[in-house]
Amino acid sequence: MSMAVLILLLLAGGVLAWQSERINPNLPRWVALGSVVGSLVFLLLSIPADQPVHLPNPGNPNDWMLYLKIDWIPRFGIAFELAMDGLSLLLVVLTLLLGLIAIASSWSEIDFKPGLFQANLVWTLAGVCGVFLAVDLFLFFLFWEVMLIPMYLLIAIWGHENKTYAAMKFFIFTQASGLLMLVAIVVLAWQGLASTGQLSFSYLDLLGLELDPRLGYWTMLGFFLAFTVKLPAFPFHTWLPDAHTQAPTAGSVLLAGILLKTGAYGLLRFCIPLFPEASMEFAPIAMGLGAAGVIYGAILAFAQSDFKRLVAYSSVSHMGFVLLGLYAWNQLALQGAVMQMVAHGVSTAALFMMAGALQHRLHTRDMRRMGGLWHQAPRMGACAMFFAVASLGLPGLGNFVAEFLVLLGLFAVQPGLAVIAALGLITAAVYSLWMMQQAFQGTPDEQRKMPDFDTREMLAMAAMMLALIWLGLYPQPVLDLAQPVLDGLQQLVPGADTVTALETPANNLAGGGL
């Protein structure tokens, strides 16, 4: 029940924030902050202390940390079915934490209808939490689509100069691919009806379904397309630079930090386990797309002069690693992919917050009109430097652990692709440092006056720095949380046991703390 309460809490918080604008225009942000903090505390309090010790079987309701099922549309075997395991918990906590960052980053940025802005922000969080918790495919699809509407409104109403185009493109890309997923979901459920005689949209019932190989492959593609558009993977990434660039700061933080992760989560939770054979058959192509994304995103990032666009393209590159890690489908690579989801969420959110702060002060995102900012705003410079090197994968920070694990796991499966993807680490260094040099180094413009980060902004930055250092130096708690889930999912996919031999070094490596 606590999961439903969590989502309701966020929805109600949104409504409250919206209406509180009538009392005082400064109130909505406090209400939004309060509702997100409240949900976070509530979530952490409601996690049961005892975890199952055996290897969890995702098909068994008792093996989840929390499980809730209420009949909703029995006519089609649809239930309001939520479940949480370590992976969902990790991502929901990340969602709420980045929600706090998003609220902080838009603290003094919004003049027009601040109540509705904060409401949309909190509703987006509610939708994303729903995506991470839903295990009924119909319900999952519902959250998947509904979370787009507040996000669309955030971009369309509070976005920058080219917001219409960006908002439309974002919505249409995700909607069109979502419709294909809806068809795939229905096909899957009807296959379930044919083989078990029971119509059900529950993930738990549909796992391990015997599918006709050809039908299974097409159905898998429906899911894959929806998730890779959201991820986004090359060549479906073209909506991302526009949406990220045009969105208000808080919108970019949410998009990059959380919404992209729903795509990765979908692949990991649904696409691969539901269609094990088809996915393994498709894995080389998916990994090829991932490697292409790593390199292509990096090259395009280097070509940008717009600060936000650069960060946006770097996301394409980093999410390529996630795709590689997921389809390599061994313990190391999967751990790396999950780490990347968390670490990239934090580091990119910080960079977008930086971009928003710069735009708020300079009224431009063009790096050619920046330069020498470090002298004028040393705190900003130092923060930007930290997150730039985090993003390029400096050892000791979270992103390094993630990308290293992915490459290690990938090497066992596809050494050639691992070599190509490793080039991404070099190109990342190039564009990250190029960004630093353009914006923060060089001769400052003497005419320019700009205030440095204030306490609120430094607090948000410090929180994210600590998170990245923690992830970099002691990733074990995160890995431990996700590990049983990953093991449970892995046992569902036969034929991917090529890397069991690596398991021992993996444990040593992770145990050593990297």
């Binding site: 089609f76 699809f141 519902l142 689509e145 249409i172 909607q175 069109a176």
Partner: protein, 481 residues
């Protein structure tokens, strides 16, 4: 006829008495408010009387009409839609015409025509209902006598719709010549044993189908739609797009079901082809519109195209129950949504006689000026686009389920493509609504009374209720078959 027969026909009787009462009232005293209230009351009573009629269903009353639950569900739907239209147009008609009272009389008659179509199991019943509906609509479209556009629309609709009716009638005559019967069920049996040449039957089928496809505005019989929708007064357009189409669809479905025309593969494939053409052409042409009424006209073509998928699914008898259930749900959701969309257009142009052409520009920033009305349009558009939590999504889900169970992959693919295109033009309206005040200088203020707001809230509630808690309706529709 005995008492039970009258009970089975109670909705039609209530409507007929209501129409007479309205006529007398208008002769006695001219008062638009009173007439509107009486019309709405009649329609609501007729909808309620479906509950009484249901107690004796199914019951065949005369060879013409069949009072089963299938008919009664739609009868009550049409009556409620008529009541909503009456309430919506109360203010509108006073602004746009000199003597608004007869408008409501015509509306009740048109609703009665739609209800007769829902009951019809006989060609004569079909023609009676169709003509009662169409003839009332000609007058309704031309009703606002202060401007030229409605007259043009009515003239177009009169000529083209008349031709379509005549074509269908000729087709039925040919069919009668071949089979010697006009009852749907008997027609189906006679077709098996008739010795008439294939050519004659085929001609009859083509003529009937063309006539009815015209009323449904399926591509390529759709050319009248945008002009008529554009010119007609907004509440009438809503009625035309929802009730008039749903009624014709119902009678076509009933004709196919009772006469079991699904066994003719060629006929079913023609419906599939028209579905594909309508989905694609409707959506593509809607992209080009800047007038919201024209846009909704093309979008309604696309929606009927989606709906035609069920004919193809019905080809396999195993899937027929699901397909018909899907069609019923879709029609109910579509009617509620369309009424919502056109209802909003009615409400925002009720106070000004020369602002009948709703351009996108004119709703710019509506969100900040009229939040309740804008929310209605938002919910209606999201429902038309098939976004979850709205009636339109469950309806689309039904269609997808039906098509998947029938393995109609081509139609499904077209549905996905069409809906994806559709999102763009629905979103564009939402975008205009959310534009900030400084981006649209010079848009005149609109006012709406409490009645408009209350009606909007009811429609929003219905659309959301159908989308969030559809189980009870689904259960009911499933029990009908």
């Amino acid at each position: 006829m005995n008492l039970v027969d009258f009970q089975a026909l109670l909705p039609l009787i209530v409507l007929a008495f209501g129409a007479t009462a309205l006529m007398l009232q208008i002769a006695w005293v001219r008062d638009a408010q009173l007439t509107a209230a009486l019309a709405a009351l009649t329609l609501v009573l007729a909808a309620l009387s479906c509950g009484f009629a249901q107690e004796v269903a199914p019951r065949q009353v005369t060879p013409l009409l069949m009072a089963d639950r299938f008919a009664l569900v739609f009868c009550s739907l049409f009556c409620l839609a008529g009541a909503v239209t009456a309430l919506l147009s109360a203010d509108y008609v006073r602004q746009h015409g000199d003597q608004p009272e007869e408008f409501f009389l015509l509306l009740v008659l048109a609703t009665m025509g739609a209800c007769v179509l829902a009951y019809a199991v006989h060609v004569a019943g079909l023609i009676l209902g169709l003509e009662l509906l169409s003839v009332s609509l000609y007058a309704l479209i031309a009703y606002p006598n202060k401007s030229i556009l409605p007259l043009e629309a009515a003239a177009k609709y009169l000529v083209l719709s008349g031709a379509a009716s005549a074509t269908a009638l000729f087709g039925f005559a040919l069919l009668y010549a071949a089979t010697g019967t006009m009852e749907f069920a008997a027609l189906g049996q006679q077709l098996n044993i008739t010795s008439t040449s294939q050519g004659l039957l085929l001609t009859a089928a083509v003529m009937i189908f063309a006539g009815l496809a015209f009323k449904l505005s399926l591509v390529p019989f759709h050319l009248w739609t945008p002009d008529v929708y554009d010119g007609a007064p907004a509440p009438v357009t809503g009625f035309l797009a929802s009730v008039a189409k749903a009624a014709v669809f119902i009678v076509l479905l009933r004709l196919f079901l009772e006469a079991d025309l699904f066994r003719y593969r060629i006929l079913v494939e023609v419906t599939g082809l028209l579905a594909i053409l309508s989905m694609l052409a409707g959506n593509l042409l809607a992209l080009l519109q800047t007038n919201i009424k024209r846009m909704l006209a093309y979008s309604s073509i696309a929606h009927i195209g989606y709906l035609m998928i069920v004919f193809m699914v019905c080809f396999d008898p195993a899937n027929r129950a699901l397909a018909v259930e899907a069609a019923m749900y879709y029609l109910i959701a579509y009617t509620a949504t369309t009424l919502g969309a056109f209802g909003l257009l009615t409400l925002i142009c009720a106070d000004d006689s020369d602002r009948e052409n709703i351009q996108l520009q004119q709703i710019s920033g509506l969100f900040w000026r009229q939040p309740v009305l804008a929310s209605l349009l938002l919910v209606a558009l999201l429902s038309l686009a098939g976004i979850p939590l709205t009636a339109g999504f469950i309806a689309k889900f039904y269609l997808v389920s039906a098509a998947v169970s029938g393995h109609n992959w081509v139609l499904l693919f077209t549905l996905v493509v069409g809906s994806s295109i559709g999102i763009y033009y629905y979103l564009r309206v939402i975008y205009y609504m959310t534009r900030r005040p400084e981006e649209h200088p010079g848009v005149p203020e609109t006012k709406s009374g409490w009645r408009g707001s209350a009606l909007s809230l009811v429609l929003i509630a219905v659309i959301l209720w159908l989308g969030v808690a559809p189980e009870s309706l689904m259960h009911y529709l499933q029990s009908i078959l």
